[in-house]
Amino acid sequence: MDKEKKKRSHLVRGVLVALSLVTAWHIFASFLWIAPSSPLREIPTQKVLSSYMIPFFGQSWSVFAPEPINGSYTLKVRAVVDDGSGPVETEWVDATAVEYSMIQNNLFPPRAGIQAGEVASQHKAEFDGLTADHQVIAGLNYFEGDWEARLEEKMSSYGDAALVEEYMVTEHMATAYATQVARAVWGEDVQRVQYEISRQNVIPFADHHDPEAQQPPVQIIATGWRGLIVNPGQSDEAFADVFLRVYEGMQ
């Protein structure tokens, strides 16, 4: 270590001190942000801290903690199709299986493979937050006209409007995704869709050597039939190109 004091210009020493102070502040702020919320955050105040950290230095490292994920999500889609000879109900298509096949046994998986799983997990989290009354209504069919407004209104009439509003965001997203899947698989004659989201936990570690061990029961979220949703600018082709190629490859 070089302990010899050297001649330096005042300007350089000044810059050194200034930059070191900025560094010290950044490190202190990052420390507070990454650590669990604590009274120490009162020093810069929470407001100062978050206006410095967000968005540029935003991060969270409680990944897989305190408990890692221990279940798999499934999102299935079916539709009512009318090709002129009358409405027909299709079989279920497992969209998560289609997408996960893109990332499984692949050293360089595309992010495309996790979309259906993300939709399912976000939607289930919102659905589970609803009251039993709300959940019953979500299970009913809503597909004609401005069904989203009617569904929201009906659910809100049982209270907790804020909760319902949040739920409707994932309802919209899940239906828009299901619409794309249905159109990709069954074409333009799709009239309405239904999606089924479920989660199944893995066999507990303690039982994983037991050949008789059964996976814990599937938790299914039942929602009713829905009218189609296509967001502005959404390209059916760009979606179908990939989804159909992978889906047909699995058949």
Binding site: M1, K3, R8, S30, I34, W61, V63, P110
Partner: protein, 364 residues
């Protein structure tokens, strides 16, 4: 009679002696502390100003971060419109972005281009070209900031498909703007060498050169703190959970569809219980110990080797190669310049020796 000192004088002398002892002690304590602070300051000042530290390590960080971007872009190429472009607007982020970045003009290019396949693809290819240029260290000072802005714009346009690795990547890439990450192993360095001779890392004579060194070295301090916080908090957050303290936490995600991307490998990796516990507790202990292991050379080698193993396991078993590569990239600053140089020399000699051998075995 004069030799007879009275009791009062003894007491006075005692207190004077005590006072002098304490006073001297305190003064010497302050002097010592002052000297310690002053020496500490001088060491820190010289460390920050005289030379750039970890120049090869930071070059490796640049190369690996660049490769991680290239890899991510290439492996998402076929599905780019499906997951980020016009095929992905069902998720609502094309209309109203979840991340704050697309709402900032500077970072909104990809968000704006989402509905237009041609524009999106053009931007995507431009970003790929910038990532390659950054990896190679071509005009780094110009390429780096443009790459950073476009990269954030790309990755933040779709929040749903992002992970914490994206945040780490953004933070590291941003701070590297203030360091000289194109100084070694870059096309820039080669060009400079041809023009001005070999790159030196001696104490700069200009004030601007000294300021550049300060910025460069402080970036290393920030990255070290960042990495340490990430690992330590990761370990502490985990330590609070039953599956982690129970020694089987890594089993759970490996059994799911999402994070068990090689089902047969997951089976093998979790077949022997004790190994699951070693991996589970090992991750916590290693993450917690990592910053402290950096302090001495032998422990640093062990620390870096285990963190490398940890990241490669995540990359392969959990299907997160680009996240892992970015973390490995940042950890590269902890390998000393001398080690990187030795590795490079060793590699060069081995390549030369094998070429020689090939020439001998297969004569013209």
């Amino acid at each position: 009679m004069a030799t007879q000192t009275n009791f009062g004088t003894h007491v006075k002398r005692f207190f004077v002696a005590l006072g002098s002892l304490l006073g001297g002690g305190i003064a010497s304590l302050f002097r010592g502390a002052g000297r310690l602070i002053s020496t500490g300051y001088t060491i820190a000042e010289n460390w920050l100003i005289d030379t750039k530290k970890a120049t090869y390590g930071l070059a490796i960080t640049r190369i690996l971060l660049g490769l991680s971007a290239v890899g991510l872009l290439v492996s998402n190429w076929r599905t780019r419109l499906y997951s980020f472009g016009s095929g992905s607007l069902w998720n609502g982020e094309g209309l109203e972005a979840k991340s704050d970045f697309p709402q900032i003009w500077l970072f909104s290019a990809f968000h704006r281009a989402m509905p237009n396949d041609l524009a999106y693809t053009a931007l995507y290819l431009l970003l790929l070209a910038l990532a390659i240029a950054f990896t190679l260290g071509w005009r780094t000072r110009i390429v780096h900031p443009i790459f950073l802005v476009l990269w954030i714009s790309f990755i933040e346009a779709n929040d749903m498909l992002g992970d914490q690795g994206d945040n780490m990547y953004r933070i590291a890439l941003f701070f590297m703007l203030f360091a000289n990450c194109g100084m070694r192993w870059s096309l820039d360095a080669r060009r400079r060498e041809k023009k001005f001779g070999p790159t030196t890392n001696e104490s700069p004579t200009t004030q601007w050169g000294q300021v550049q060194n300060i910025a460069h070295n402080l970036v290393l301090v920030i990255l070290t703190a960042q990495v340490s916080f990430v690992y330590i908090s990761g370990a502490l957050y985990k330590a609070g959970g039953d599956p982690w303290s129970g020694g089987y936490a890594v089993y759970n995600p490996l059994m799911t569809d999402r994070f068990g991307t090689w089902p047969w490998l997951s089976e093998i990796a979790t077949a022997w219980g004790p190994l699951v516990t070693i991996a589970t507790w090992g991750s916590i202990i290693m993450q917690l110990a990592f910053p402290f292991m950096l302090l001495t050379r032998p422990t640093r080698v062990i620390g870096l080797a285990s963190i490398l193993t940890f990241h490669i396991a995540i990359a392969v078993l959990m299907g997160l190669p680009w996240f892992s590569l970015a973390m490995i990239a940042i950890d590269s600053i902890f390998v000393t310049d001398r080690t990187w140089q030795n590795m490079a020399t060793g590699l060069r000699q081995r390549v030369r020796a094998s070429a020689e051998e090939a020439r001998e075995k297969v004569p013209a």
